[in-house]
């Protein structure tokens, strides 16, 4: 086979290509999907619910006092759950949009999109430590031994693009934060081809460009040689699917080398768009860049995008920390919703915002911070069939525990998969004879009232 032959294959091999990356285990979704793609805006460190989406006027009245016994008795006896010295929020909550759902002044831009948001105030789990907490939030298990939600989505549905990785993760942990838990884009017992591809927004996919000194002509020749050798080996050994997949993978790699740089090249975006995301502001720039790329990714058929913004761990000074974090995220996140809508993508893209847990309504130590608290925290969903402008669940008068409609991380996963048309209990992977499903033995159920 010569060079022309390889290029010919590239032109016509689309059917063969399908089977490598495009196909998931499901012939068709279990139900009509309301979303095609997911953008997960993961706020590592734990944003405080009582300062963002869960107003608690009682805190102002009780400030400085201990958690009243009637509420304290419901607070799980876990480490870090301090019961002394309640602290009022620094931010004022106001009703927003037509729906009037309350959002604090911390997020003035996101507040303008209130009618898109379905806020779940009753998220809850039991793990107050960042590492296991992240694993619970992103995989459902504190040990990090289970596949990430993104890997399950890919396992079920495959990709819509043959030219780009179907699951892309961007880690914005540039404030000296702990390294993000890799389980969040990992596959555990699922094949590693389903893992999230970690990219640096500024650099794009690793190894995507031709090495220095290699011309396009030389590369085509190399691919021809490889194809010749691989075809021959595959024929000699009985054409098994693994070897055939390997041949196709070279074709996809070649396409990806063209498509991926285009994705990351944001020069084609207008100045107005860049400014809308906040690219010109030093605080917002990195999150703005990632959010803009996220829109470009789903536009090009990427199934699952995960943006992890570290730095919410406000132990010492909630006011300073959350003010800084809002400056990093508020405008880019609001712009993402706006921009998705403008491109007609919001209806098919589910955007999920939230951290691994919330924070205590009490003050930590003698600083002005709040400690970790997984007993109750807020997340929001938007787009992708979600009915915006609603609040689900309720916490106690100080926002410490859930008193109505508890939602566990696996329930949230079931909800996200539900939007993608997947019934979590029906998506089965045979793991050494054990039938594994996304929710495992713990189980969960979708928060269906979030939808339309």
């Amino acid at each position: 086979m010569d060079r022309r032959n390889f290029l010919t294959r590239l032109g016509t091999g689309s059917i063969a290509l399908q089977s490598l990356m495009a196909e998931g285990s499901l012939q068709k979704p279990h139900r009509v999907p309301t979303a095609r793609s997911v953008i997960s805006l993961f706020m590592s460190g734990g944003p405080s619910q009582v300062d963002t989406f869960d107003p608690k006027p009682e805190l102002a009245r009780l400030a400085g006092r201990d958690v009243p016994e009637s509420l304290a008795k419901n607070v799980p006896k876990i480490k870090r759950a301090g019961l002394q010295n309640l602290m009022a929020s620094y931010w004022t909550f106001r009703p927003r949009g037509d729906s009037g759902i309350p959002i604090s002044d911390l997020f003035p831009e996101v507040a303008k999109r209130a009618d898109d948001l379905c806020v779940i105030r009753s998220m809850t789990h039991r793990n107050p430590v960042h590492g296991p907490g992240e694993c619970v939030a992103l995989t459902g298990a504190a040990s990090g031994n289970r596949p990430s939600l993104g890997a399950w989505a890919l396992y079920g549905l495959g990709s819509e693009t043959q030219n780009l990785p179907a699951f892309i993760a961007m880690n914005l942990h540039n404030n000296g934060m702990q390294h993000p838990q890799a389980a969040g884009w990992g596959t555990a017992f699922l094949p590693s081809s389903l893992q999230g591809t970690v990219v640096d927004p500024a650099k794009g996919v690793r190894h995507i460009t031709l090495p220095r000194g290699t011309t396009l002509e030389r590369r085509r020749r190399e691919l021809s040689t490889i194809t010749l050798l691989n075809d021959d080996f595959s024929r000699r050994t009985g054409r098994d699917s693994e070897l055939e997949a390997r041949i196709r993978a070279y074709e996809i790699a070649y396409r990806m080398m063209k498509a991926a740089p285009e994705l990351f090249d944001i020069k084609s975006e207008t100045k107005q768009t860049l400014n809308q995301y906040g690219m010109e502001k030093s605080a917002a720039k990195s999150v703005a860049h990632a959010c803009l790329l996220a829109r470009r990714m789903v536009e090009r058929g990427v199934r699952f995008v995960q943006i992890r913004v570290g730095g919410w761990d406000a132990h010492g000074n909630i006011h300073g920390n959350h003010t800084n974090m809002a400056a990093r995220t508020d405008q880019p996140v609001a712009a993402l919703l706006e921009d998705l809508q403008r491109h007609g993508l919001l209806d098919s893209t589910l955007v999920v915002w939230g951290g691994e847990f919330g924070r205590t309504p009490t003050m930590e130590g003698r600083g002005k911070g709040r400690d970790h608290s997984p007993s109750a925290y807020s997340v929001w969903l938007a787009g992708g069939g979600i009915r915006g402008g609603q609040v689900i669940g309720q916490t106690d008068p100080i926002g410490y525990t859930v008193i109505d409609r508890p939602v566990k991380p696996l329930d949230l996963h079931a909800t996200i998969l539900h939007a993608l048309g997947i019934d979590s209990d029906e998506l089965v992977y045979n793991h050494h004879g054990l039938k594994e499903t996304p929710l495992g033995v713990t189980g969960g159920s979708a928060v269906t009232e979030a939808f339309g």
Binding site: M21, P132, Q181, H207, R221, F233, Y250, A253
Partner: protein, 964 residues
């Protein structure tokens, strides 16, 4: 002057000698520091001491040669509860001790009283005393109510620190009852509560304690020098020994029992439930006569969440007829709420019977005689040939020598064959040190080995590499597999002690360990769960993890079995164990902790003074809070300790062959260091796997389905290893030979190589599996013996030639009618690229290296969550859980790496410099002469773009990365 925070047997500082002065008897500096430490813990004492001029707060006490009451303090609130513990430390200056035989002796006591007394009046009659007195020819520790009512403990030794603990208690509970019982311990261990050194009783004692203090007597002279410090009162044994309650075994909530199972519950179950729900044929499989099964249907201590309770409450059960009476329902409710007590004698847990193949004894089968006799080169072939015949399969013809040489070299060494080697020389390959590097890596997958703690902080384990080298050496030396197990599970327990055995416990220590976990119960349990799951999977081929929360749905493994297995490991933990003769190392480590604890205590005190509750002082803050002199010494000690030989290993002080020193490791909130905390560990069955819901305690035991565990076990993990490696264990040898088979052929005879349970796959050749297991055991558990049987077989030496007729019958090649090529693992792909380009640095062993190194992949640093990129791309092992078999998944990102990475470029260019021609390059890459067609194409390619370009192509070819 130092005050410690940790109650550590070795590290507690003495009162500084230089401060000893006969003139200055009172030194009140640091008084404020001592108080919170010594007295505030239980809020019992908060008043300052009253000092009479003959005492100091480091409490250096001299006598007056008459009755004296130098030091005393009131309790904040008078104590008239049932039980009070007191402790202090004492050191008696050797030079000033008088011996009774010289007609003199010593007297010194702590008293507990209702009244204060004054400086010169002591507290004698009826008052509990804890201290020293003369017994025969010795000064001994004693407890007494009066000189006529005293009991003695061990003798006093000068210049040595003693911890004195006493328990004053009431045999009859009540405010006005007397403290009639007094026990004494000297240097107690966590588990010696039931073994006091002396005890006295006296019915006319006080019923309330308001004051405590020390007295000297006529035998205590002015030149005596007694140091007393670290005085503490508490109401529990754990508190008095500073055993953090959270570090001990989970405490079971005290419930006031109203229900007696046999009397109240059993009759209801018997009359109303057992008709259907008893015995093997219980309706719908629901048995209510077995505790483990009842547990699966209830939430102990919470009847409202219990299915069993809901069913009777709603009247659904019992079906038809009369519902339970309301008082019967109330009884069941109370029974569940009180923790589901059971009478194992009345209703014992039955020993499960199973006919599942893997639990049956290994029987050595006859080697079958087959028609195709000339094909049989080793007995393996006879078993394989029989299945060929049965299924109508024709074996492929033998592979040519080039292919075979390449196959064996890649399979055994993970490197392409050396052109000078004779093809198929099995012995040379088995003796090659690269063999251990490749097969050791297989085992490291199973052992979920990595070099960081995992979880959030994921700090580096600088000495974990010792275990990696131990594994490599074990394979190279063909360490018998039974010994291999024994050393990994119980290396610290084995006699005689050896460093190598300690290093072997790196298998257990490879567990992940969360350094940010403040809850010590959760932290410890997570490690134990990791160890149990890995041990069960690695050696027994059982998926134990299900039973952590509930009795296994498929295998005869109950939740009780799970925690029985956990109990073998409960008294040990991972750490950097100092190797070799460690006399110097111990003093370095002790001194380091002494400084650390001193500063820690100081910082805690400061925080407490500021009114900060529950201070958490993290190591970096402690180092930051050191005075410059302290920090300099501390840093210096750390540097010295780093140079001490040590290994990341698992160590249990209570069963180890000898006491070992544990060097610090990098962790924010490590488990406590005190060996007594480990000794005091008990294993409770955790309901639903929840640390906060402990059920009954369980003793070390292997699963009951394998028969009873002896009740007296001296060295727990040695006993476990002994059971595993006994010739009657049905699983261990089968599981191991199956793994060997899998690593040779890509798939085991049992495909699910870590699940031999009911959910696992059936063996394709059950008799062959048993034959190999039996061969292993009768050949001194030699792994290399099994290799030889396999490598020399016709089965192994078949070509990969495809045969459509065979494929129609057996498309998956389950019956091995040909060799099925398979992709090399991540490490081997990289190693082979380095080898053919001549860049490979074959240095063996030692600390792990960074990615830029050209050494084999097994030596690259394995940081959990951040493994080398190429390993993650090519389905490498995660190091988090046991990886039983590498998957092969394909994604274009692999190709991007293989084409575009700097590494690929570097390798291709180095290879191009090495080769003389395209033909040479192909021979090097494939171990064969290229075909004419290939050569023509390669030459054409090379002419245009150079040799580096075709080298890159060859390295990317499937043939290069597959074992042919």
């Amino acid at each position: 002057m130092t005050i410690t925070s940790g109650f550590r047997p070795c590290g507690l500082p003495r009162i500084m000698k230089s401060m000893k002065s006969r003139v200055c008897h009172l030194v009140v500096i640091f008084f404020g520091l001592l108080l919170p430490r010594a007295f505030a813990d239980d809020g019992l004492l908060t008043q300052p001491w009253k000092l009479n001029g003959l005492a100091s707060p480091k409490f250096q006490i001299q006598g007056t040669a008459s009755r004296n009451n130098p030091l005393r303090q009131a309790l904040k609130v008078p104590f008239s509860g049932d039980e009070l513990f007191v402790r202090y430390r004492i050191r008696y200056d050797l030079e000033t001790i008088d011996l009774p035989e010289e007609k003199n002796g010593e007297f010194f006591v702590l008293w507990l009283d209702q009244v204060e007394g004054n400086d010169s009046s002591t507290h004698s009659g009826n008052i509990p005393n804890v201290g020293l007195h003369v017994s025969g020819n010795e000064n001994r520790f004693m407890v007494r109510y009066a000189s006529s009512n005293q009991q003695f403990g061990p003798p006093l030794v000068g210049d040595r620190e003693f911890v004195v603990v006493a328990r004053l208690w009431k045999s009859q509970s009540g405010k006005s009852q007397p403290f009639d019982q007094l026990n004494l311990w000297i240097d107690p261990k966590a588990n010696s509560k039931s073994e006091p050194a002396a005890s006295v009783s006296h019915s006319k004692s006080i019923n309330q304690v308001r004051w405590i203090g020390f007295s000297t007597g006529v035998k205590t002279e002015i030149d005596d020098s007694i140091d007393v410090w670290d005085i503490k009162l508490a109401t529990t044994w754990e508190a008095i020994l500073d055993l953090p309650p959270q570090s001990t075994a989970p405490t079971q909530p005290i419930v006031k029992r109203t229900i007696d199972f046999a009397k109240h519950v059993y009759p209801i179950l018997k009359a109303r439930c057992f008709e259907c729900h008893q015995g093997k044929d219980a309706k719908e499989g629901v048995r209510l006569d077995v505790w483990d099964e009842v547990l699966n249907r209830t939430a102990p201590r919470d009847a409202s969440k219990s299915k069993l309770y809901q069913l009777v409450l709603d009247g659904e059960m019992p079906p038809g007829g009369e519902s339970l009476k309301s008082e019967e329902v109330a009884t069941l409710r109370a029974w569940i709420d009180e923790g589901l007590e059971w009478d194992q004698k009345l209703l014992p847990t039955p020993i499960p019977k199973t006919t599942h193949w893997a639990f049956q004894p290994i029987r050595r089968p006859e080697v079958p005689s087959v028609e195709n006799a000339e094909w049989v080169r080793t007995p393996i072939d006879a078993f394989i040939a029989r299945q060929h015949r049965k299924h109508g399969l024709t074996p492929a013809k033998p592979a040519n020598t080039e292919t075979l040489a390449r196959r064996m070299s890649l399979d055994l060494l993970g490197l392409p064959p050396n052109s000078s080697a004779a093809p198929g020389d099995v012995e040379r390959l088995l003796d090659h040190p690269a063999y251990g590097e490749r097969w050791g890596r297989h085992w490291l997958d199973v052992a979920r080995w990595a070099e960081s703690n995992g979880h959030q902080h994921n700090r580096h384990r600088a000495y974990a590499w010792m275990y990696r080298d131990w594994v490599v050496d074990a394979f190279n030396g063909d360490k018998p597999f039974d010994q291999f197990i024994r050393e990994q599970l119980a290396g610290d327990e084995l006699n005689p002690y050896s460093d190598a055995n300690i290093i072997a416990t790196g298998f257990l220590a490879a567990a992940r360990y969360s350094g940010n976990e403040l809850d010590k119960q959760i932290q410890r349990n997570d490690i134990l769960v990791d160890i149990v799951n890995t041990t069960a999977s690695a050696f027994l081929g059982l998926t134990f993890e299900c039973a952590q929360c509930h009795t296994h749905k498929f295998d005869p493994i109950s939740i009780r079995d799970y925690y029985g297995l956990q109990a073998f490991f409960a008294k040990g933990q991972p750490g950097n164990v100092v190797l070799g003769k460690d006399a110097k190392a111990k003093s370095l480590v002790d001194r380091r902790w002494e400084i650390f604890d001193t500063v820690h205590a100081r910082l805690v005190t400061i925080k407490r003074r500021q009114g900060i509750a529950n201070p958490i002082v993290i190591p970096t803050a402690v180092i930051g809070g050191m005075r410059s002199k302290e920090r300099a010494e501390f840093r210096n000690l750390d540097e010295q300790i780093k140079k001490v030989a040590q290994a990341w290993a698992f160590y249990s002080p209570s069963s180890s062959a000898k006491p070992l020193t544990i060097a610090p490791h990098d962790m924010r909130f490590p488990l406590p260091q005190d060996p007594r905390i480990l000794e005091a560990q008990k294993t409770a069955l955790l309901i639903r796997g929840d640390v906060k819901s402990p059920g009954p305690n369980v003793a070390p035991a292997w699963p009951i389905v394998f028969g009873p565990t002896p009740s007296e076990i001296d060295k727990p993990r040695t006993a476990l290893a002994k059971w595993m490696t006994s010739l009657t264990n049905p699983l261990v040898a089968r599981v191991w030979v199956n793994r060997i088979w899998q690593w040779h052929f890509g798939r085991g005879l049992v495909e699910t190589s870590s699940d031999f349970g009911l959910q696992g796959t059936q063996p394709s050749h059950p008799e062959l599996l048993d034959y190999l297991a039996s061969e292993l055991m009768t050949n001194k558990w030699s792994t290399k013996h099994i290799h030889r049987l396999i490598l020399n077989s016709s089965t192994y030496q078949q070509s990969y030639e495809f045969n459509q007729a065979n494929a129609d019958i057996d498309p998956d090649n389950k019956y091995l009618w040909r060799w099925k090529p398979r992709r090399l693992e991540a490490e081997a792909i990289r190693d082979c690229m380095l080898a053919v380009s001549g860049l490979l640095d074959a240095t063996r062993g030692g600390p792990s290296v960074e990615l830029k190194s050209k050494r084999r992949g097994i030596y690259l640093r394995q940081r959990r969550d951040n493994l080398p990129h190429q390993q993650m791309l090519f389905d490498g092992a995660s190091g988090n859980v046991s990886c039983t078999r590498r998957r092969v998944s394909t994604t274009a990102l692999q190709q991007l790496w293989q084409l575009n990475s700097l590494f690929a470029q570097e390798v291709a260019e180095a290879m191009a410099k090495r080769v003389k021609s395209a033909e040479h390059a192909a021979r090097l890459a494939f171990g064969r002469v290229p075909t004419k067609k290939e050569l023509a194409h390669l030459n054409q390619h090379a002419e245009k773009h150079g040799l580096a370009s075709i080298c890159l192509g060859l390295l990317n070819s499937s043939e290069f990365v597959y074992i042919p």
